[in-house]
Subunit: 325 residues, 2 copies
């Protein structure tokens, strides 16, 4: 990394460089001792006004920026090894950078993912945080998108749709008037601060035939996994795990279903698990403290995955995921 | 990586994902088989209007974005292993993206650094290209900034100051009226398209006690290297390698010297070489086809490095490097 910003970056972020290989952020590069592992590399950027709201608190922005990357690593079965950070900012404001760095440091510690290096650049545009995260897996064990097989069970962690509702609340949309402040806060929190399923990485690696994280909408992401694997899937709407709050919204407005299964920001793990691994995967997930649900089946077909109701009737979806362009 | 931009990214950049571990850019992450090597990680972003001019041709922007990172790897003694790319763009324009991707692919091939993955995000702000590059070194051999010792020779590759003059030309400044178009073009090219000293990586690893690349100005970067190493240095102005064109400008305006040694974008390698390795380093550099020059000496002192003239008188420097904030 270059720049007169060296000092600025080190001033705020040195406490996050907990690993010797980060060299205290005073060098041009960091060292990652790979040992015998494969290194898993993923990169994700968040932009103010696109991936987070410009007035979101800096601590939640920091957590989201790192966690969307940790979510990708977990879905690949990888343990976090470290990350690098590029911060594009209009101006350096102590009141923004200090809580940003503090929260990022907390997450780096909690998830065992030290900062390895980074860069601050000035931009006249909106703030942008670009993170590249590195993880480790034993050689040859990274879980791919493209290896799902017909007959596999489609499984997903946690609950789907809360982040979409959280964003709706932040945008002032109607829908959840009777839910109480606590339910609203929980959904807003799901939008602002994803819970990456780092604890599930080992179970994914050991049991899933294919996996990815749900970042752009459950049905859209499943379509990508199926397309990469040359298969299709059928998902039972009633089996999709939802929070009590989401069920309340849905009971008032059943048409909301299509939006919840195609909205973004869930950051749960979607995977295909061979039938004969299903029980072992469930046990491993429980041991990791992560709820998982079977929501459908991988099938041999070349149409997009179908969402069906309790009577096995297809539920039409206008769009399946969020796209920036 | 996430997003409805998957397809867009893969459409333009799939040809650059030459390594099997990139998984054709259709997965959420890439696999880097580390073997027994240490992985060297560096990250650098370039922003329109800050690091390149908004109307710079897209092919030169692509090359600069990758090459500034390759320059960091080379200075650490690392061989390129791959890179990930985050493109923040206002809009997707075929006429910009196609030549950008084509040039990036050429450089990825020439420098043996395949694309491993990436992400396109929309931004209402200026274009920004953030790259994280990964390199390899045998375990424990990455060359640091912090390990220069008193008595070492200060050496630098190539020539210093051409990029600063190239930027001056692009900004319409006076100074080189009599140089002819070819000399002007060469200096503009130095600003737009750095020549990363990838070929010098092995020689640096084998012989340098400390190294970094010159991205923000020779004297400022030397000050960083010295500060990290707890030493100082004396540099002889007449020993600093300069192109014939830069010497011509300098002969007309001797005060320009301070600007050339503190301007950015040289992307040469600055290193400290123990006296007893000097000859071996010179031979290795010649074998690699990279000119290197001895410009001074590391000394034990706690002042900033000094620039001196032929009479050993200190040449005062108002500033030593470029800073974005």
């Amino acid at each position: 990394m270059p720049s007169g910003e060296d000092d600025l970056f080190a001033r705020y972020f040195k406490p996050l460089a907990m690993t010797p290989g980060a060299l205290g952020l005073i060098d041009d590069a960091a060292i990652l001792q790979a040992g015998g592992d494969d290194i898993v590399v993923t990169t994700d950027a968040v932009v103010a006004g696109v991936h987070f709201l410009p007035d979101d608190p800096p601590d939640t922005v920091a957590r989201k920026a790192l966690r969307v990357n940790l979510s990708d690593l977990a879905a690949k079965g990888a343990e976090p090894a470290g990350f690098v950070l590029t911060l594009a900012l209009r101006e350096v404001s102590e009141s923004w950078l200090a809580p940003f760095a503090h929260a990022l440091g907390e997450d780096a510690t909690v998830f065992g993912c030290p900062l390895l290096g980074g860069d601050t650049v000035s931009t006249p545009g909106p703030a942008m945080i670009s993170i590249t995260a590195l993880g480790r897996v034993p050689p040859g064990t990274m879980v791919r998108r493209s290896t799902a097989r017909a007959g596999d069970v489609v499984m997903v962690s946690g609950t789907i749709g809360d982040a979409t509702l959280g964003l709706a609340i932040l945008k002032g949309e109607e829908g959840g008037q009777g839910d109480g402040a606590a339910a609203h806060d929980a959904m807003v929190e799901r939008y602002r601060v994803p819970q990456p399923r780092v604890a599930l990485a080992r179970a994914i690696r050991d049991h899933a035939s294919a996996a990815m994280d749900v970042s752009d909408g459950l049905m859209g992401d499943l379509a990508k996994l199926c397309s990469a694997s040359g298969v299709s899937a059928v998902v039972e709407a009633t089996a999709i795990p939802m929070s009590a709050a989401a069920r309340t919204w849905l009971s008032r407005d059943p048409a909301l279903l299509a939006r919840l299964v195609s909205g973004g920001d869930d950051y749960e793990i979607l995977c295909a698990v061979p039938e004969n691994r299903r029980a072992a995967f469930a046990i491993a997930a429980r041991a990791a403290g992560v709820p998982v649900s079977a929501i459908g089946r991988i099938i041999e077909a070349n149409h997009a995955p179908k969402l069906v109701d309790a009577g096995n009737r297809e539920i039409p979806l206008e769009r399946r995921s969020y796209s920036h362009f």
